[in-house]
């Protein structure tokens, strides 16, 4: 007697500090495919998970921001390489989650991989594109350079589960920030697969942290967290939630990127995102004998 093999399903967990913990709350929520079939129980991140992720991100920031731009570029390129290996898996997941055909999914996945390559090339050019030598009227060598803002909390786009996610986290980490990202609530699976890519791509622990769950529950804690330096609201679809997050962010004068519900993730990203999450430092260095 023969029978079909029963598949081995994966437990989908969070990604915090380079590890894959379940939510400390023990909660999960059901994720369905675009056609409504059961897909997985994803972890439903709690306030405590978000705080743990911020602690991990702060730790990751130290090492990552101190790394050379060349090194960061290689790590980002490595992410593209490892993603390329998993291309078929990502295509399957985008098809299942977004309900698009294979050609459309392939296009999304290829664009996501290529986006890492694009940002890999940016790491050692940001300082040249955004830095200046300033001709001050006095005996000083005066220069301005971009430095990463610190820990950035992102809400990834809800519809574009992979390309959208990559498009928001890549520019954040390219300049040396660390990130706590909330994946698309209803389409979180490609984000978790991306976390597995991160874990095997020489990205230092804590640089990228991915949470799944409900932004309405987690975002207020991230937006008010005193050790978060910037908040990217790109994927927030609830207007009231976005407004309250921006208000909370004012508590410690965080940098805020407002929601972008209409964003076209296939368009040239430009430099807006890179500019948003850097600080310009100006140094007056004396000249003299």
């Amino acid at each position: 007697m023969t029978h079909d093999r029963i598949g081995v399903r994966k437990t989908h967990k969070l990604f915090i500090g380079g590890a894959f913990p379940r939510s400390e709350s023990g909660r999960t929520y059901e994720v369905a495919t675009a056609t409504g079939d059961f897909w997985s129980n994803a972890s439903k991140a709690s306030r405590k998970d978000a705080r743990n992720a911020v602690i991990a991100a702060r730790t990751g920031f130290g090492k990552w921001s101190a790394a050379t731009a060349y090194n960061r570029g290689q790590v980002l390129y490595r992410i593209a390489e490892v993603m390329e290996d998993r291309r078929a898996q990502f295509i399957d997941e985008v098809m299942a989650g977004e309900g698009v055909d294979e050609a459309a999914a392939r296009q999304q996945v290829d664009a996501a991989i290529d986006r890492w390559v694009w940002y890999a090339g940016w790491t050692d050019k940001i300082a040249q594109a955004l830095g200046t030598a300033n001709p001050v009227a006095g005996p000083y060598f005066n220069f301005s350079i971009p430095e990463p803002s610190g820990v950035v909390a992102c809400v990834a786009p809800q519809a574009s589960s992979l390309l959208g996610l990559v498009s928001v986290i890549a520019p954040v980490i390219a300049s040396g920030n660390s990130v706590v990202a909330m994946a698309s609530t209803e389409r979180p699976i490609p984000a978790i697969t991306l976390a597995e890519v991160m874990a095997t791509s020489d990205v230092p622990a804590g640089v990228v942290n991915l949470l799944t769950g409900d932004p309405a529950e987690i975002l207020p804690w991230l937006a008010s967290h005193a050790d978060v330096n910037a908040v990217d609201l790109t994927g927030v679809t609830d207007r009231d939630l976005a407004i309250s997050a921006e208000r909370e962010a004012a508590g410690t004068i965080k940098r805020v990127l407002r929601p972008a519900p209409e964003a076209d993730w296939n368009a040239d990203p430009g430099m807006d995102r890179l500019r948003t999450f850097v600080e310009i430092k100006t140094v007056w260095h004396p000249m003299g004998l």
Partner: protein, 481 residues
């Protein structure tokens, strides 16, 4: 025998102050709709200088509408090379009238004439001159091939450098093609009103620059106005927070230049005499009414005693008094309210156990004054080491190693500026890299230049003023074009 300084007052003859001023809207002065006004006083004498209209809701509507019309019909469509010439004109007129403006600034603000004359006004003119040149070169500034202005900018100006902060905001806004509604601080409106006259002399089209005098409520009405595209604010972190909350959910762009608690770090190999001058300039320049003031002196333990001794000797020679006297080093505190705040924080320093020393100087009978004051035995937990005092009060802490200096310097929610004093170039650059601050001065302090971007990290705000980076605050993002 001792030699006394004879009085050397700058003449007030170059200044004519009207008994009252209206609001400058659409190229004309007019009273406020409500008819309400307030008095601006000379903080050195408490004499009334003038009565100034207080803008209310209807006035804000009218000013924003004028700015919108000017943006749509004149300033927005005008080629950059023509906008440039207006800004060059303004720069020239400021140079021509700089003595008058310096005297006016010292009268209204209380700052010594040697600072308004030698620092504020030259920088004001330089700022317009620098930005004038950008107006027709924006496509070469790195903001993409077709940079576009934002529209109408609401600009709220602080009282510590009234005309200079106006220049920092108005010059880049106009260069990028925006029109502006400016709200000067209520205690220092006079040079902004003089700027209105400069716009008249320059034949600037009506509505491009509008000036609304008033207090916090006027500022609130202005930044909340629905037809404003951009808000630029310089002032306290507390007000910055409330503006940020107000703007949540709008598509208004915002830049904030807020408070600071800068560390001025003196290493044992520093040129000590220069460092003493730098410490004095860092915290006692403009009576310490400076957001980037070096209000925390971090001195390496091995030289701390020597530095403090020389610092106190130097402070004992500072001359406090008539801001218009050319020999005056320390002018008046800008307002009774600010004096009360400085006093309260200084008392908290004593209360928390720090040791207070104030320079021996005679305090004039009238006006608001505070002697240069140094606190030693300060810990990082003391309020005077954590809170912005915005006055001539220095808190002294010590350190042993560079790492400890960095840790202490960065131990603040602010991140506007920092100073490093050492003869070692490599140490300057290493320290500059470690410090989380937007402006780092090495072997100097409180130095400004229109080509040099200024602005903070963390709770000192976001966005830059000056330099190529300052232009970004007045241009659309690539995504918004």
């Amino acid at each position: 025998m001792t030699f006394d300084y004879a009085p050397a007052p700058e003449s007030r003859a170059s200044v004519e102050i009207a008994s009252d001023y209206g609001l400058f809207i659409d190229g004309e002065f007019s009273p406020s709709a409500s008819g309400s006004s307030f008095v601006t006083v000379n903080p050195a004498t408490e004499e009334s200088l003038s009565s100034v209209a207080e803008a209310g809701s209807a006035d804000v509507d009218r000013a924003v509408a004028a700015a919108r019309r000017a943006y749509d019909a004149v300033w927005g469509p005008m080629p950059g090379r023509e906008r440039a010439k207006y800004l060059f004109r303004i720069a020239r007129i400021i140079q021509e009238r700089s003595r008058e403006l310096a005297v006016l600034e010292s009268l209204d603000n209380g700052k010594p004439i040697k600072e308004s004359r030698d620092v504020d006004l030259p920088l004001v003119a330089a700022h317009f001159f620098y930005h004038a040149g950008w107006a027709d070169k924006l496509e070469h500034a790195g903001y993409g091939p077709a940079p576009q202005p934002l529209g109408v900018a609401a600009q709220v100006i602080p009282w510590n450098f009234p005309l200079l902060m106006l220049a920092w905001k108005v010059a880049p806004a106009l260069a990028c093609g925006n029109t502006v509604v400016v709200k000067p601080a209520e205690t220092t409106p006079l040079t902004a009103l003089a700027f209105a006259d400069i716009c008249r002399q320059a034949d600037l089209p009506p509505g491009v620059v509008n000036i609304l005098t008033g207090a916090g409520e006027t500022g609130r009405l202005l930044v909340e106005h629905p037809d404003v595209n951009k808000v630029a604010f310089t002032g306290s972190t507390e007000v910055g927070r409330s503006i940020m909350r107000t703007l949540a959910g709008t598509d208004k762009r915002l830049t904030l230049e807020l408070g600071g608690k800068a560390a001025n770090i003196v290493f044992d190999d520093a040129p000590i005499d220069e460092a003493i001058e730098g410490i004095v300039n860092g915290i006692f320049f403009n009576q310490g009414h400076v957001c980037c003031a070096g209000s925390r002196l971090l001195v390496q333990e091995s030289v701390a005693e020597d530095v403090l001794e020389r610092l106190k000797a130097r402070l004992s020679t500072l001359r406090l008094g008539d801001p218009l006297d050319k020999n005056t080093d320390i002018g008046a505190i800008n307002s009774a309210e600010q004096l009360a705040r400085i006093d309260e924080l200084a008392k908290s320093g004593q209360g928390e156990g720090a040791e207070r020393w104030s320079a021996p100087c005679e305090i004039p009978e009238r006006g608001w004054w505070f002697p240069p004051t140094v606190f030693t035995g300060v810990t990082q937990a003391h309020r005077i080491a954590r809170e912005e005092i915005f006055g001539p009060v220095l808190s002294v802490l010590t350190f042993r190693t560079p790492d400890e200096a960095v840790q202490k310097a960065n131990n603040t929610p602010y991140g506007l500026s920092a100073g490093i004093w050492t003869e070692k170039g490599s140490r300057i650059l290493w320290m500059a890299q470690q410090l989380r601050a937007g402006v780092v001065w090495a072997n100097t302090f409180n130095r400004f230049d229109p080509t040099s971007p200024f602005g903070g990290y963390k709770e000192s705000g976001f966005g830059r003023e000056g330099g190529l980076h300052g232009l970004g605050a007045y241009l659309k993002t690539e995504a918004a074009r």
